[in-house]
Symmetry: C2
Subunit: 154 residues, 2 copies
């Protein structure tokens, strides 16, 4: 097995396990909060990409502005999102997480982290160090990739 193939295999095996775990985890968490997946996803987007206008929500999830408006409206009424007028462009709105919304996402994160904490317990000190270093490299590379122009919009 070439090194090339080995890398590919290793990362795909890890992705498979990890994606499945985290998807299920988030799904269950969203359900436990009483939010629908679309609602929850909007909170996630605001958490990761920061405050934005309605248009970015509708683009982000490929839904009409009308749908985005209605979706956001419920989250505003639930006190999870703030919707204020953009002082620069008064047509636009600025959407951001409230403390409550932010806390909710954070709580979801903690539950997701719990799994890898258990995982960590299965590892020796040396293994932890090696993994830590490896992941830092990947994270760094991923951040670089994030900044580049997107060739394959996924």
């Amino acid at each position: 097995m070439t090194k090339q193939v080995q890398f590919t295999n290793s990362i795909r095996a890890w992705m498979d396990i990890f994606m499945h775990r985290s998807m299920r985890g988030w799904g269950r968490f969203a359900k436990s909060t009483g939010l629908s997946m679309p609602q929850f996803s909007v909170l996630m987007q605001l958490h990761y990409r920061g405050a934005c206008g309605m248009s970015r929500i509708s683009e982000g999830y490929d839904i009409t502005p009308a749908a985005a408006s209605q979706l956001v409206d419920k989250l505003v009424q639930s006190g999870l999102i703030q919707r204020v007028e953009d002082p620069v462009d008064r047509r636009a709105k600025l959407l951001s997480l409230t403390d409550k919304g932010s806390g909710l996402i954070q709580q979801g994160m903690e539950e997701r982290y719990r799994w890898v904490d258990e995982l960590e317990e299965k590892l020796s000190v040396e293994e932890r160090i090696r993994i830590s270093e490896a992941l830092d490299i990947m994270t760094h590379a991923a951040q670089e990739l994030e900044l580049e122009p997107v060739h394959h919009p996924v």
Copy 2:
């Protein structure tokens, strides 16, 4: 910074980036196939956990048997799932992916892999080897964890 904390930081940073990417990716992919998230999730469960009965679907997503039945029904009609009588217990049904359903999930996987392929290009050969080894350790640990009795059902 202690090694303990360093590991935790490294893995959380990686999780953050990776979870967000893959969640968005799967969401968009599901949408592109015309399937709803619940429908898509059922396919995912069958892919990862293998064939099962209706009851496991309803337990897995914490929905009523009625809901599961209706959900599965649409997937059967779309030709993505096979629903046959369980020969051992004729009350039960055996659900499994058809080739079409299996191929659809596979296609989604490929798209998810594409991102890490780009990531790989940013790495040196030595980095790839180190990462490959580290991920193998994690995958192995995760598989062990999977087999143990679940303490924190997530």
